[in-house]
Symmetry: D2
Subunit: 118 residues, 4 copies
C-alpha cells in the first residue's frame, strides 16, 4: 500500500512474517476474520437504542475502540495482501455516491437512499 | 479524526451533512452497515478455495475492491462519529499483540494463536 | 438430522448432491455463506428505527422473509454436514440460559443480561 | 409459528416475557444479535483449511454446536417476532432454486451458480 495506511500495513506484514503466519493470511481467511470482528462490534451495540449508542459510557467506548482496532487491522492486512489501496478505493466510491445521490433530491431520506454507496 | 484518514472522514461527514443523513448515522446503524458490507465481502470469497482467493481474476478483484471501499467508508465514518482514531487504536492493539504472541513461541501455529489480536 | 428439520435438511442434501455441489459445502464455506446472508438481513434493518423495524411494510417484509429463508437454508445445511441437531442444541443452550438468568434478578435489564445466552 | 419450530419459538417467547426482555427484542436488535452470533461461528473456522473444517476435533465441534445453537435461537426468535414461518419460507426459496439451477446445467460449477439461492 502506498497510501497513508502504508506504515500500518507494513507493520502488520512484518508481524505475520515474523510468526510465519502468512500461510494463514489468505484473502478468504482474512475476509472471515474481518467479518468476525465486525460481528463483535455489532454485539456491543445490539441492545442499545440508537440514542444510547451515540452516548457510550467510557467502558463501552473502550471495548468499541478495541473492536474498531481489530476491524482496522484485518481490513488493512486484507487490502495489503490483495494489493488494494483502501483510501483510493474509498474516494472512488465516494465520487460515485456524490453523483448518484443528488444532495437536494435525497435530502433527509434514508428510504430513497439507504447506504452511503449501496 | 486527526490522523491520516482525516481528509476521508471529513469528506464523508460533509457527504452526510449535505443530505441531512446525519440523523441515520448513529453508531448503532453504522455498525450494522459496516457488518453488512463485511458480509458482502465474504460472499465474494465463500465458494473459492484459499488458493483461488489469493489469485483473483480481474472482475472479481474489481468487485472485492468495491466492497473493501464500502467497508472502509463505514468504518471511517463510524470512527469519526465516535471520535476514535482508528490508526492509533490499531497500533495500540498491535503493540499488545506483539507482546502477547512471542514470535518464536507462536511460529507457524494458527491453533495456538489464531487471530492477529484475539 | 433426526429432528423436526430433518426433511428440510434432506432436501437440501439432495439439492447439493444432484448438482455435485457437495464439494463446495465444507463447514468453512457454509459458515461464510450463513454469515453473508445474515449480513443481507442486517442491511434491511440498518436505517430503520427499532420501532419501524417492528412494523414493516409488505415489500420490506417480503424481502426480510426471503433473507430469513436463505439464513435458514445455510444454517440447516451446515448443521447437517456437521451432524448437529440444531433444535436439541438450542434447547440445551436455553436450559443453561434459564439457570443463568434468574427471571427476578434480570428483569427488564439488558445491561446486566444482554444476550439470550451470551 | 405454526411449524415444527413452534415449541422452541414458544419457549423463547416465554423466556423473554418472564424477564421483561421483549422490549429489547425488536427485529432490528435481533437481526444484529443473529449476525453477531454468525460472526462468532465464522471465527471458529477462519484459520482452518476447508478440509480441517470438515474434520473437527471434539472440543471445536462442541464450541461450533454452541454457536449454532445461538444462531438458531436468535433466528427462531426473530422469525417469531415477525410472524414468519422459517421452514415454509425455506421450502419456497428451495422451490425457486430448483427451477433456477437446472441440475444438468450447473453440475459441479460454483462459478456459474454460487449460492444455494442467490
Amino acid at each position: 500500500m502506498t497510501n497513508e495506511l502504508g506504515p500500518l500495513a507494513e507493520r502488520l506484514r512484518e508481524f505475520a512474517r515474523a510468526r510465519d503466519w502468512e500461510q494463514f493470511h489468505t484473502p478468504k481467511n482474512l475476509a472471515m476474520a474481518l467479518a468476525g470482528e465486525a460481528g463483535e462490534l455489532l454485539a456491543e451495540f445490539q441492545w442499545l437504542t440508537p440514542e444510547e449508542s451515540a452516548d457510550l459510557d467510557p467502558e463501552t467506548l473502550a471495548r468499541v475502540r478495541s473492536e474498531l482496532a481489530d476491524v482496522t487491522q484485518y481490513l488493512v492486512r486484507l487490502a495489503d495482501v490483495l494489493g488494494v489501496d483502501l483510501v483510493a478505493a474509498a474516494y472512488a466510491k465516494l465520487d460515485e455516491g456524490e453523483k448518484r445521490y443528488d444532495a437536494d433530491l435525497y435530502r433527509g431520506s434514508a428510504r430513497k437512499a439507504p447506504p452511503l454507496n449501496p
